[in-house]
C-alpha cells in the first residue's frame, strides 16, 4: 500500500501560510500581492482538477471554466440570498462553506450530464463538445436576468480569504493526488494510455472517464465559488472559452499529468501575467513608447512558446515534488 506523506506537506503549507500572513500583517506585502496569491491558489484548484481530466485520464476538455461558472453562480446566489434574509447571521462561515460545496455539487451534476453522453467521443470531438458547453454556460448566465444577465451577479458577500482559499487548495491537491495513486487513479491512467488495452485489463473505461470528469467539475465548481466570494461578483466573461484555455495552458506549461507542475504553473503564470501588466506600464511610462497593457499578452505568449520549445514536457514533466510523493508502506 502507498501512503500519503501528509506531515511534510502540512508543514510546508503551514510555513507558507504563516510566511504570507506575517509579510502581510507587517505590511511588507500589500493587499494587491495577497490578492494575486489568492487568485493563484484558486487557479491551483482549477489547474489540478483539469489535470485530472486532461492529464491523468487523457480526455481533452476545453470547458473547464464553464464548471467554475456553475459553481460561482450557484454558490453566489445561495449566499447572497441567505444574507439578504439575515445580514447578521452568526453562521456566516458555515453558510459560505455550504454554498461553496453546493456550487461544487451543482458543477459535478452538470459535469455528469455533459460527460455521460459525450465521453464516448475521442480527442478533437470531445474538445469541440466541451468548448460548446462552456460557451452555452456563459450565454445562459448572460441571459438570466435573475443572476444579473450581462451585468453579472453582484453583491456577493466577501467570504473567500487567504485562509479559506489555502485550505481549499490543500484539500484539492491531497484528494486528487490520493485519487491518482489509488487503484481508481491507475484505471484513469490506463484510459489515457490506451483505451482498448485498458478495457482488456478489466477497466470500465466509460465509468472512469465520467468519474474523472465529474470529480474535475466538482473542484472547478469549488474554485468558481471561491472566485465569486473573493471578487464579490460573478460575471459571464470570467467563464468563457479564453479563460478555460488559460487553465489548459497552465497544465501544459507545468507538465501534463504532474500535480506539482500544475500547482507551480498556476502560481507562476498568474504572477507573470500580473507582473507583465506592471512591467509594461513601467516601460511605457519610462520610455514614452505607445505600448498599452495589452502588450503583456504578446510577451506572455512568447514566453509560453519558449517553454514549449525548450521544455516540451512542461516544467515538471510527469514528475512530482517530494512533498506529495507517496511512500510505500507494507
Amino acid at each position: 500500500m502507498k501512503k500519503f506523506n501528509l506531515p511534510k506537506l502540512l508543514i510546508f503549507v503551514i510555513a507558507f501560510y504563516a510566511a504570507i500572513q506575517i509579510l502581510y500583517s507587517t505590511e511588507i506585502m500589500n493587499g494587491y500581492i495577497l490578492h494575486i496569491i489568492n487568485q493563484s491558489l484558486i487557479y491551483v484548484i482549477l489547474a489540478v482538477s483539469l489535470n485530472l481530466i486532461n492529464g491523468i485520464t487523457g480526455q481533452f476538455s476545453l470547458g473547464h471554466m464553464g464548471f467554475a461558472g456553475v459553481g460561482a453562480y450557484v454558490s453566489g446566489t445561495i449566499s447572497t440570498l441567505v444574507f439578504k434574509i439575515n445580514p447578521s447571521s452568526p453562521n456566516g462561515m458555515l453558510i459560505f462553506i455550504l454554498a461553496i460545496v453546493a456550487g461544487g455539487l451543482a458543477a459535478a451534476v452538470v459535469g455528469f450530464l455533459i460527460g455521460f453522453p459525450s465521453l464516448r467521443l475521442k480527442g478533437d470531438y470531445l474538445a469541440i463538445v466541451t468548448l460548446g458547453f462552456g460557451e452555452i454556460i456563459r450565454t445562459v448566465f448572460n441571459n438570466i436576468d435573475y443572476v444579473g444577465g450581462p451585468r453579472g451577479l453582484l453583491g456577493i458577500p466577501k467570504f473567500s480569504n487567504f485562509t479559506t482559499i489555502t485550505i481549499a487548495a490543500l484539500i484539492t491537491i491531497v484528494v486528487i493526488r490520493n485519487l491518482v495513486e489509488s487503484s481508481h487513479g491507475r484505471a484513469m491512467l490506463a484510459v489515457r494510455e490506451n483505451e482498448l488495452a485498458a478495457e482488456l485489463v478489466g477497466v470500465n473505461t466509460t465509468r472512469y472517464k465520467v468519474l474523472a470528469f465529474v470529480i474535475g467539475a466538482f473542484f472547478a465548481g469549488i474554485a468558481g465559488g471561491l472566485f465569486a466570494h473573493l471578487l464579490q461578483m460573478a460575471h459571464p466573461t470570467q467563464f468563457g472559452f479564453i479563460k478555460s484555455v488559460e487553465v489548459l495552458i497552465m497544465i501544459y506549461a507545468g507538465g501534463v499529468g504532474s500535480i506539482t507542475g500544475s500547482t507551480i504553473a498556476a502560481f507562476a503564470l498568474t504572477f507573470l501575467s500580473e507582473g507583465l501588466r506592471i512591467g509594461i506600464r513601467a516601460i511605457a511610462d519610462a520610455t514614452g513608447l505607445p505600448i498599452g497593457g495589452e502588450w503583456r499578452m504578446v510577451v506572455y505568449s512568447l514566453l509560453l512558446i519558449f517553454i514549449m520549445l525548450f521544455k516540451t514536457e512542461g516544467l515538471m514533466g510527469t514528475k512530482e515534488s517530494k512533498l506529495i510523493r507517496l511512500k510505500e508502506v507494507e
Partner: protein
C-alpha cells in the same frame, strides 16, 4: 473449455463472421489460421467483448459469456492480447505489468505473475524501469504477451503475436508461447504465419471469409494439400 458455436458478427451491413464454430480444450493450444479479412481478429474481439455478436454462442467452462462488456470478460477468465501490441506507452514496463493485474485483489499474486513474466522474458526484466513506448517492436510484443499472462484467467487469446517482427524474433516468440502453454495456460492463437502456428498448436481451424472450413489436429491440417497450397506456400 471454450466452446464457440455458430458465431456471427456484423459490421453494420457487412457480415464479417458468418458461421464460426470451434472448441478450445483446457491446457491446449488451438490456432485459427486464415488470410487477411477471413475474420480471425473479429473472432477474438467477439470473444473478449470488444465486438457485439449478432448470433451464436460463446461458452467458457459452462458459462455463457456471449455479448458481455469487454471489461467484464477479464474476471470471467478471458485474457486478450490485442493485435498491434497496444501497450501503455508513457508508463514503465513494470507499471504496464502491474496494471494488467488491475482486477486482481491479491497483489502478491500479481507480483508472482510479474516475476513469472520476467523469467520468461529476461529482456523485459532488464527494461523494467523503461517507458513502454521506448521498447523495440519485439520487446513491446513480449510486454503485451507478458501483460496477458499477468491478467491471467482461464484462456489467453493471442492476436498475431508475430506481426511485424524480425524472423529471429518470430521463432523466439513462438517458443515462448509454447513455454507459457507448458506451464498450463490454455491458448487460442490467431496467426497469419500459419507454418509456425501449426508447428506449436495442438488443434487448428481454418477460417475463410467468415466461415470455419477445415479443422483437425494441427499436424494433420499442416499436411492437408489445400492448406499447404493456400497458407503454407508449398
Amino acid at each position: 473449455m471454450l466452446v464457440v458455436k455458430n458465431l456471427k458478427v456484423n459490421y453494420g451491413k457487412i457480415e464479417a463472421i458468418k458461421d464460426v464454430s470451434f472448441e478450445v480444450p483446457d491446457g491446449k493450444i488451438v490456432t485459427l489460421i486464415g488470410a487477411n479479412g477471413a475474420g480471425k481478429t473479429t473472432t477474438l474481439r467477439a470473444l473478449s467483448g470488444l465486438e457485439k455478436t449478432s448470433g451464436g454462442s460463446i461458452v467458457l467452462d459452462g458459462v455463457d459469456i456471449t455479448n458481455r462488456e469487454a471489461h467484464k470478460m477479464v474476471p470471467l477468465g478471458i485474457s486478450h492480447v490485442p493485435e498491434g501490441r497496444k501497450i501503455f506507452p508513457t508508463l514503465t514496463v513494470r507499471e504496464n505489468l502491474e496494471l494488467a493485474g488491475w482486477t486482481i485483489k491479491d497483489k502478491k499474486l500479481v507480483k508472482d505473475r510479474i516475476e513469472e513474466v520476467f523469467e520468461l522474458f529476461p529482456r523485459i526484466k532488464e527494461r523494467a524501469a523503461q517507458l513502454g513506448g521506448t521498447l523495440s517492436g519485439g520487446e513491446q510484443q513480449m510486454l503485451a504477451v507478458g501483460r496477458g499472462i499477468v491478467t491471467g484467467g482461464k484462456i489467453l487469446l493471442l492476436d498475431e503475436p508475430s506481426m511485424g517482427l524480425a524472423p529471429v524474433l518470430v521463432d523466439e516468440i513462438f517458443s515462448q508461447i509454447l513455454a507459457i502453454n507448458k506451464k498450463g495456460t490454455t491458448i487460442l492463437l490467431v496467426e497469419q504465419n500459419a507454418a509456425e502456428a501449426l508447428d506449436i498448436a495442438d488443434f487448428a481451424y481454418v477460417l475463410e471469409v467468415g466461415y470455419t472450413t477445415l479443422h483437425g489436429p494441427a499436424k494433420e491440417i499442416a499436411q492437408d494439400p489445400r492448406v499447404r497450397e493456400a497458407y503454407l506456400g508449398v
